[in-house]
Amino acid sequence: MSGVLPVLLGRATKVAGIVMRSPKEYICLMKLHEEITDEELEWGLSHFIGEVYQTPPVRSSVARRPRIRTIYELEVIERLGKDVLMRIASSGGTYIRKLCHDMGILLGIGAHMQELRRTRSGIITEKEAYPLIDVYWASWLWRNDEDDRELKKIIRPVEDILALLPRIEILDTAVDAICHGASLAAPGIAKINTQIKKGDVVGVFTLKGEAVALGVALKSTEEVLREGGIVVKTERVIMERGTYPSVWRRVKRHKDTNK
């Protein structure tokens, strides 16, 4: 397996769940165990488009119960006998190895995944991904020549990875309270995305575009506009405390006590 793997640094590790749940695109080489016609193959694949049930493989890190995953696109690029080269766009958490296995069962001839490359993870495509050796040399230039330009091209702000999330931008005065784990109330909001539904994971950002926290929407956009109240329950704080002033504190303490 090869391909796009976002590696999170420092506090950015808190957004790992978002990376996992983001949609993916793969190029997959499937090996059929017996010869079949193109028509039979197409019939088989047509059962694996849209919402499919999937049980995680034996060797996996999650509970083995059926889950619903979405296959958005399924394309056979090339076929040579038992070798089938496919492009698959799916929701996060889809096991492609399992998908190939299940296709083999449905076709009645058996099949397995031979090779897999992830060509896209959320907004990140393989065109903008760097091999490990590039990271190595960029880091070498930074350490030995004190030239950080290459490394700054490679390391991107964590906000880029949250670009697909429904977005709420908040006032400066609300930021530090959120950093301390408070829920977000409507008066602290400057901008809010349409189409937010109750229960959605949303990204809370400053007006400068910095990620403050991830949270769960307690109200839809329409409800927020109509009645206000508590809008987001903070789940994961990304920004360090004390980045913005803590106007919510009654007694102003020395900055160092926040750490």
């Binding site: 793997l5 694949l45 991107r156 400057a190």
Partner: protein, 96 residues
């Protein structure tokens, strides 16, 4: 031969549009826009879009990136915490 099956457009883009509830600006004396972050700050609040090669596991390459950048300690809270972690660990070992 080619087969193309489509269920729906993959959600590669954010849904919805922003609505302004309050006209406000952010005070430039606090924080900084993500794109003007220094390298040191990026290592604390950034990611590498890695193109993993065949062979090592995702866990292996993540560990290699940490080693290359030398930010293992930073990822765990900085040198101050690292020196504090060792006695803390000893306390737990002794008490159990």
């Amino acid at each position: 031969m080619t087969i193309y099956l489509k269920y729906s457009e993959p959600p590669w883009h954010r849904q919805g549009e922003p609505i302004v509830l309050r006209e406000a600006e952010s005070d430039p004396s606090y924080g900084e826009p993500p794109n003007s972050r220094s390298l040191e700050r990026l290592m604390k609040l950034g990611f590498i879009p890695l193109d993993k090669h065949i062979g090592p596991t995702s866990h292996d390459v993540t560990a290699q990136v940490r080693r290359i950048l030398g930010i293992d300690e930073v990822g765990h809270g900085g040198t101050l915490v690292t020196s504090g972690e060792i006695p803390l660990c000893q306390v737990f070992c002794q008490s159990s």
